[in-house]
Amino acid sequence: MSINYADTAWVLMSAAMVLFMTPGLAFFYGGLVRRKNFLSTIMMSFACLGLIGVLWVVYGYSLSFGPDKAGIIGGLDFFGLAGVGQEPSSVYATTIPHLAFMTYQGMFAIITVALITGAVVERIKFSALMLFSVLWFTFVYTPVAHWVWGSGGWLAKLGVLDFAGGTVVHIAAGISALSLALLLGPRRGFKEKEPMEPGNIPMVALGAGILWFGWFGFNAGSALTSGGLASSAFVATNISAATAALVWMILSWIYRRPSLLGVATGAVAGLVAITPAAGFVQPIMGIPIGAGAAILCYYMMLFRAKTGIDESLDVWAVHGMGGTWGALATGIFSSVAVNSAGKDGLIYGNPKQLLLQLIGVLVVWAFAFMMTWVIGKVVNATIGLRVSSEEESVGLDISQHGERAYGGPLR
């Protein structure tokens, strides 16, 4: 098939926007930690840009999207981008260069790994995080991406729908975050309820703004073509984000005062939840999906806090639970009238799709949780997961990176 220039422009722009989300995430997370760990938290995302960016082209793309092996994993045919050129792939996104599809997908892999880091900020050894990231990317991300999005992947064949990564990105990252946080244990002083106020909320807002912007590339770009479907996914995305931001603001208002952190977190929750559904549902369904995400994630956050688990930046509550809700909501609200490649969902008389979505969710929950646990154990047994108590109290900026966020004689 020949290349459509408009589709190519659209997907390349979208790829650039998804790449930009990772620095956005760096600031979203970075603003939430204490000043002494600001840089180290930013670094976690930036390091993924380098590390996963390279691994993706070396073997990650091939494992995820290479020729199917038994529905489980892709073959190594595309190792080092062999055979990935300016011509379209024969199976994926056939109106754009194979390279464009490949790089677009790579941006998702980068941010997925970066998302997990929110669980382990302020106490993980940087070397351990790097090793963990390599293993997790290899043994969790690439297979899950293959199952759901790879041609021949078993969840895809089963009929599980995931438009832009609710399962592959957000559930996988959110559940792994929980698993790794449990393994790592809470921050020093967490149990004693020492104050751990966010160090820089404006940077959280900046991160949220960049994420919102980039998410159009994430979701509407996942149409892999310009035109009606991209437009529909675009609108669904904005509606869900806006609704969730508004609802979370109201919730924070009811319990205390309307919170900027709440608006920012709410927007992210809404964006997460619409991700798997964006190109399958009527855009106006962004309202129930976004509202549901805000309410669910809000209370899951409170619940998490009550359990005393220090999953520090609530990756599980927002991405894990938001992604779960979105995956199920896809089974409820999806409509073939929107996307002929989709399915009708529960409200259009097809409860089976909801069941399929549930299967997808459970499989990825279980797989991500257990694999992360195993990988975490391995890393802990070899190089150790956690910094020393003194390093933690001095802060990771100095102890792991030898840098301080702000110059000057002190702080």
Partner: protein
């Protein structure tokens, strides 16, 4: 009157405040400072290499007290700010000749 200058860990502000409130002492002034003690900061390791972190963030808590309140306030601060590890900080007691409340112009013990 005395000025108590306590250099404490940042995370100990809440217990110190609490312990002073229990004594009925609400007034205080705090400043973000950097400090190091006799140990020249903290020694950490990176691989085989050792390095030192020089100044560490601390809080300076200043409380002006009447002479008769000095020792209970000191005790309260020592008790609530202690962890038993290096870096717990120090307290210095400095004489104060007078105090004035700007709002009223009152001076002396009325002003504290």
């Amino acid at each position: 009157m005395k000025k108590i200058e306590a250099i404490i860990r940042e995370e100990k502000l809440a217990p110190v405040k609490k312990s002073l409130e229990d004594l009925g002492y609400y007034g205080m002034t705090i400043t973000e400072v950097g400090g190091r003690g006799r140990e020249k900061g903290i020694a950490l390791k990176w691989g085989a290499k050792e390095y030192r972190v020089d100044f560490l963030p601390k809080l300076k808590v200043e409380v002006i007290v009447l002479d008769e309140d000095l020792s209970p306030v000191l005790n309260a601060i020592v008790r609530s700010a202690r962890t038993g590890e290096t870096g717990d900080g120090k307290i210095f007691i400095i004489p104060v000749e007078n105090a004035i409340r700007i709002r009223t112009g009152d001076s002396g013990s009325n002003a504290v």
